[in-house]
């Protein structure tokens, strides 16, 4: 007979943790990703070279970091670049991105929608429409099913 029949500590064990089939996200080490380079992007915006700024800001997306600050900074930066564009230039800019770029852009657009400020939603809607025509419905589905968000 086992000694501790009185003990009900077993009730505190979370059995689901030990389930072999339990799905765990791949924990990539994302410490090295710092997000797009602010200084570079700012200087490109000031020079008026918006296409380059867009490319620069979509580099090094902070996908894997757990640090929320990095993600917030990256998002603010992207939003700045997107609002700096004139409406007529948006289409060209989207065309210049490759497929992964368009997907990343979509992720940022949806992230931007979460914190609407006065005019951001209007620009974001325009960008969304153009990105949709470039990336197709697949890009939206990829945003919905992505496990690692920007």
């Amino acid at each position: 007979m086992s000694k501790n029949t009185d003990s009900n500590q077993f009730r505190k064990v979370d059995v689901d943790e030990y389930d072999e089939n339990k799905f765990v996200d791949d924990e990539d080490n994302g410490e090295s990703q710092v997000g797009p380079d602010e200084a570079e992007v700012d200087s490109l915006i000031r020079q008026g070279n918006l296409m380059e700024a867009l490319q620069a800001v979509l580099k090094n997306p902070p996908i894997n970091t757990k640090n929320q600050n990095v993600k917030d900074r990256a998002e603010a930066l992207v939003l700045k670049v997107l609002s700096a564009f004139k409406s007529s230039d948006i289409e060209k800019a989207v065309q210049s991105l490759d497929k992964n770029g368009v997907d990343l852009l979509m992720k940022y657009i949806y992230k931007g929608f979460e914190k609407p400020s006065e005019n951001s939603s209007a620009t974001l809607l325009l960008w969304h429409e153009k990105a949709l025509s470039a990336g197709g419905v697949g890009s939206i589905v990829r945003v919905l099913t992505a496990r690692k968000t920007v």
Partner: protein
């Protein structure tokens, strides 16, 4: 609330019993690239090969909504994408949130900071929550009462939830059962239609309230 009839009528449109075809082919967007990798991973993790057939019922022309740009196609595409699901489990994944691999990313689409739509998808259901524009007190009251009216009759509405999600005014919960009984594209169209009509309905109600109040006040003050 007689004004709400417009919305009710469109509910009946989506009812014809139809067994939607769940023949699954791999999710391929309109251009030619292969099935998205993250999604495949999530599928394998869920233990089944989840591929959905995207119902693209023609890309509608963007309808100019009020304010900044076309929200409707934005929302409709999102809802349409998340409405592709099948029977996985009889438990709705969203309210219970039991397994991480069954949930999609929640997505918000906002026109400004007062009006937004939250779309949370999962493997067998999708929850669409709408925050309606309420500019002043009377619109707030009207909106609240209108939503309450509908939510109290949520059983007959099928896809409506009895309580809205925190921060929003009304929520729809569309499950695989619903998509089995009702046309998917009609469901999506209904939600879009709802969003567009709700603003109009509330403005109409406000106008009639003001008109009635004016008449009443006139009549009353005639005595003096």
């Amino acid at each position: 609330v007689k004004r709400g009839r417009g919305i009710w009528r469109s509910v009946w449109e989506i009812f014809p019993l139809s067994s939607s075809n769940f023949a699954f082919s791999s999710l391929s967007p309109s251009d030619s690239d292969s099935a998205p990798v993250p999604q495949r991973r999530a599928c394998h993790a869920a233990g089944r090969s989840l591929s959905g057939e995207l119902l693209l019922s023609g890309g509608g022309a963007p309808q100019q909504a009020r304010g900044g740009g076309p929200v409707s196609p934005c929302v409709s595409v999102c809802v349409r994408d998340s409405v592709c699901f099948r029977v996985f489990d009889h438990v709705n994944a969203i309210p219970f949130r039991s397994s991480k691999e069954l949930l999609l990313q929640p997505v918000i689409i906002s026109r400004n900071d007062k009006e937004k739509v939250l779309i949370e998808g999962s493997i067998n259901s999708v929850r669409v929550s709408i925050a309606v524009k309420q500019a002043d007190e009377i619109e707030k009251i009207l909106c609240h009462k209108f939503m309450r009216f509908m939510m109290m009759r949520a059983e007959n509405f099928f896809i409506l939830r009895r309580k809205p999600v925190e921060g929003y005014d009304i929520s729809f919960l569309i499950t695989n059962f619903h998509t089995e009984q009702m046309y998917k594209h009609k469901l999506v169209d209904f939600v879009i239609h709802f969003m567009e009509e709700i603003d109009k309905e509330i403005s109409e109600m406000k106008l009639s309230v003001n008109a009635r109040a004016r008449i009443v006040a006139e009549e009353f003050l005639k005595n003096f």
